[in-house]
């Protein structure tokens, strides 16, 4: 026997969303444009469960949620690099612990959204920090390497060269000359 059905996708989707949100006891209002207003604070675990359940129906939560999480990853990395007590911790463990997601999930999400890996971002951030210290302080490279938890000056210089294509000395020279030309221009 064959029967024909006719369906209204709009109603289908709204029904699925309502069922899934009710299942997790999440009070909500469905707005017409695929936007869901959630009426209470929900934890990261609940959020992830909801996302997974919806994915099974081919419903995907849009990037803004993801962008928000990527931003939290970046913030956590910054916080970690700036806190002396945290500098010997493993980034992967700290992130997973702090943000309550598996590192694999965070890592995939990060690469997919930012075109770079978490590991690369950490290096980029550390080198950026080193640049700031070179530009704005009188610290020697040895002191900077120590402060940023590099095992040696050679390690810092090597990573610096790899990221910027320049040696730390060349970099400092360029910044100094830049300042020189700027001062000349303002005179």
């Amino acid at each position: 026997m064959k029967i024909s059905v006719k369906y209204d996708l709009n109603i289908t989707c709204k029904t699925i969303l309502k069922e899934q949100l009710d299942k997790l006891n999440i009070p909500h209002v469905l707005h017409g444009t695929g936007e869901i207003e959630i009426k209470r604070a929900i934890s990261d675990e609940e959020m992830q469960e909801l996302f997974n359940n919806l994915n099974a129906y081919g419903i995907y939560v849009l990037n803004d949620q993801k962008t928000a999480l990527v931003q939290r990853i970046k913030n956590t990395i910054n916080e970690m690099l700036e806190d002396d007590r945290l500098k010997s911790q493993k980034v992967s463990e700290y992130l997973a612990d702090k943000l309550n997601y598996s590192y694999t999930y965070l890592s995939n999400l990060f690469s997919e959204t930012t075109y770079t890996s978490i590991e690369n971002f950490v290096i980029l951030r550390k080198v950026d920090h080193a640049k700031d210290l070179m530009a704005d302080t009188d610290l020697t490279l040895t002191e900077i390497a120590y402060r940023l938890n590099y095992s040696s000056v050679a390690h810092l210089s090597g990573q610096f060269k790899k990221i910027t294509g320049l040696t730390p000395t060349k970099f400092q020279e360029i910044l100094e000359r830049r300042r020189g030309t700027r001062i000349q221009q303002t005179i």
Binding site: C13, I59, T116, L124, T164, K170
Partner: protein, 155 residues
């Protein structure tokens, strides 16, 4: 409901290239289209055209300009200096895109405010990879609070 591609809703990176060599422009265009980062490319054929373009009213400024050094009418170095002395163009990153390997040229462009120095590679896959690397790093500067004043990259 359709699956939404992973990079939908993502910002587009606006890129401009000023180069007087038509082949180089086409080559560059092909390479940048081959990269997963979404870009909108504007092509200009000399320095004056670039400056006129940047001064158009209501223009959406590029995030990143690739600038050839040897161009007729107005060369890359003049453009660089003009761009860097215009506060309206403060946030634009500049990548020098040149055949010159002279250390002196490289340092001069950095001193005058270039962010990236990219030697024109001699084959397509190298070009593609280099552009990808520049875009990736530029993207990080565009979306993270990295210090743009210290953004120097030599490829």
């Amino acid at each position: 409901m359709n699956k939404i591609p992973a990079n939908s809703g993502k910002q587009i990176l606006n890129v401009a290239l000023a180069d007087d060599d038509e082949d180089d422009r086409l080559f560059f265009q092909e390479a940048i289209e081959d990269i997963s980062i979404r870009t909108k490319l504007s092509l200009l054929s000399d320095g004056q055209e670039l400056m006129d373009y940047l001064n158009l009213p209501n223009i959406i400024l590029p995030n990143l300009i690739f600038l050839d050094l040897n161009m007729p009418i107005k060369n890359g170095m003049q453009c660089l200096k003009e761009i860097r002395s215009n506060p309206k163009l403060n946030d634009v990153c500049i990548a020098i895109y040149s055949t010159s390997c002279s250390e002196n040229d490289i340092e001069e462009t950095f001193v005058n405010g270039a962010n990236v120095y990219l030697n024109k590679p001699n084959n397509f896959s190298k070009l593609r990879d280099s552009i990808e690397k520049v875009l990736q790093i530029n993207w990080q500067y565009h979306t993270s609070n990295l210090n743009r004043d210290n953004f120097l990259l030599r490829l």
